[in-house]
């Protein structure tokens, strides 16, 4: 395991996206320490901010974190990244495989556009969890994204595939403009869940009043919920419990395509 221990609070925002297992494979500690991670005209290298303890690059561990750690695990393909602390924006953005675990909070756009792998945030996360960045047509397109704490505004915006579990609360418009995929919120959900969603599944343990463009389609009984509960249980017992309970199903958003669904406890 390669360990990067934070020496002192970084003097500027850092771009940590070059620190991925497949990019570091075969590099010596000195070569890793020389990698540029600055985001301003003042150059900063890995060695300036971290003390590097060499080891297998399949697993990278950050000792200490900061909300200035941007792009942790961005573009991750294989291997594992662990952060003992907070990170900034774009954590796990565009990752396609491997695993990122943040033992702290993240900024906005965590898991943005990810297409595979697993991202777990043990603390809270900012706005636009899994969402597309400016100009992109779709958000998260695969994989598993788990937030043990709460999320900000519009988590799962333009979600296309994959599963997002938020064990805490969310801000407004969770699952806005969803294309497909699954978003589960166990805490209190903000207003307008599924705003303009086309397809996909939202499950809310503590829902607000749904908008009038979500139409109830009655109590839901299908082998799917039990199977899904089994799939979810290893990741989140709360999510498994939600799908084992009796559910009511709403179809929507009728202001958009209307093939989406919102499950709430009966």
């Amino acid at each position: 395991m390669l360990t990067l221990s934070l020496k002192a609070s970084p003097p500027q925002r850092l771009d940590l996206s070059p620190l991925l297992p497949h990019l570091l494979a075969g590099k010596t500690a000195a070569e890793i320490a020389a990698i540029d991670i600055s985001t301003t005209r003042e150059k900063i290298t890995v060695g300036d901010v971290f003390s590097v303890r060499a080891g297998s690059t399949d697993e990278i561990r950050f000792e200490g974190g900061s909300e200035r750690f941007d792009g942790v695990g961005r573009g991750l393909q294989v291997g594992k990244i662990l952060v003992a602390g907070d990170v900034g924006m774009d954590a796990g953005r565009l990752m396609s495989g491997g695993e990122v675990i943040v033992d702290g909070d993240t900024g906005p756009y965590a898991g943005s556009g990810m297409s595979g792998g697993r991202l777990e945030v043990k603390g809270d996360t900012g706005d636009f969890l899994g969402a597309p960045r400016e100009g992109e047509m779709q958000g998260m397109a695969g994989g598993m994204l788990i937030v043990r704490g709460s999320a900000g505004q519009r988590p799962g915006d333009r979600l296309r595939r994959g599963t997002i579990i938020i064990e805490g609360a969310t801000g407004d418009c969770p699952g806005s403009r969803m294309i497909a995929g699954t978003l589960i919120v166990l805490g209190r959900s903000g207003a307008h869940p599924g705003y303009l969603m086309k397809r996909g599944t939202i499950a809310l343990a503590k829902p607000p009043a749904l908008s009038a463009t979500f139409v109830e389609s009655g109590p839901y009984a299908s082998a799917f919920s039990a199977m899904f509960a089994r799939t979810l249980e290893p990741e989140s017992r709360g999510a498994g419990r939600l799908f084992r309970a009796r559910l009511r199903r709403f179809s929507g958003d009728m202001a958009a395509l209307g093939k989406g669904e919102v499950f709430i406890p009966a």
Partner: protein
């Protein structure tokens, strides 16, 4: 052929000649065991022989609710055919007409393999645009709205090209009752073996066939050498003390599973003994040149 004798039962020094087949396994679940079995029985009906049915299929075993993907009672079915294209066609027709239609059913793949057949990936169109796709990890499911709720069906199932079809035992006894008793005992023992099915009615076939016929249109006809009533008319394989012959045909996902089933069946027949059961056990082959799998009875004795 020199007979070997075990517990008074003569065992032919012969072998069953079997063929490579394509095969896959599904788990069918329902709200209760009765309806899981009903869907499985319907789906595997009219599937005794590839000659006339397109596929050979049967129930492998019940699956406990704790072990099915959706936590409901399930049944594991196996289905085999000679060619991949035919098996794909059979799978869609059978799951589409017999499982999709069965109350409360769901259908899951139970075979992992690099090659796959479509199940839900084809049946989803029944949803007329209202079907819902769900992908978890490497598994892909379709939820198809139906009149009792939703039909949940896995998108694809893996299959093997190394399945083995046509393992068999010829069970010969003094009369009908004793021979059937021995065959039934063998079927019961073989049903306990995983990854095999006995495609014929109740596992037993009474009309074994030989290759060829006097009639040009037919490529198989009654196994005259084993028909007791033809003993006086043709070159017979039957001894004077044999009055009835029944056959068990075995299809399995692996060569080892067919061998294991043959062994279990032989043990049950031998255990029953000649007084109440079979006097002699043989196996069907074509001289060993047609099928690559040979199950020699002498190697599979208990």
């Amino acid at each position: 052929m020199r007979p070997m004798i075990r517990n008074g039962v003569r065992i032919d020094e012969s072998f069953a000649e079997a063929f490579p087949m394509r095969g896959t396994a599904l788990i069918i679940t329902a709200p209760n065991r009765r309806w899981a079995r009903q869907a499985a029985i319907t789906m595997t009906g009219f599937a005794t022989s590839v000659i006339g049915c397109g596929a050979e299929a049967g129930i492998d075993c019940d699956v406990d609710a704790r072990e099915t993907p959706d936590g409901r009672p399930g049944v594991r079915v196996l289905i085999f055919a000679m060619a991949s294209e035919e098996l794909q066609k059979q799978l869609i027709n059978r799951v589409g007409q017999c499982v999709l239609t069965s109350p409360g059913s769901a259908c899951f793949s139970d075979f992992k393999g690099a090659d796959t057949f479509k199940i839900g990936d084809a049946l989803r169109y029944f949803g007329d645009g209202w079907q819902i796709s769900k992908k978890f990890g490497d598994r892909h499911f379709w939820r198809i709205p139906v009149m009792d709720g939703e039909f949940l069906c896995e998108g694809t199932t893996g299959y093997t090209k190394d399945a083995v079809g046509g393992g068999n035992l010829l069970i010969m006894g003094a009369d009908y009752d004793k021979t059937l008793r021995a065959a039934e005992a063998a079927v019961e023992a073989m049903n306990g073996v995983r990854d095999v099915i006995l495609p014929f009615p109740g596992g037993i076939v009474r009309s074994g066939s030989k290759v060829g016929s006097k009639y040009k249109a037919l490529f198989a006809s009654t196994n005259s050498a084993y028909c007791p009533t033809l003993r006086a008319s043709v070159e017979t394989a039957l001894d004077d003390d044999i009055g009835c012959v029944l056959e068990i045909v075995i299809d399995g996902l692996t060569e080892a599973s067919v061998a294991k089933a043959t062994r279990a069946g032989l043990a049950a027949i031998i255990n029953l003994g000649p007084r109440n059961g079979a006097r002699r056990v043989g196996a069907g082959n074509y001289g060993g040149k047609l099928g690559p799998f040979h199950f020699h009875l002498k190697d599979l004795l208990p």
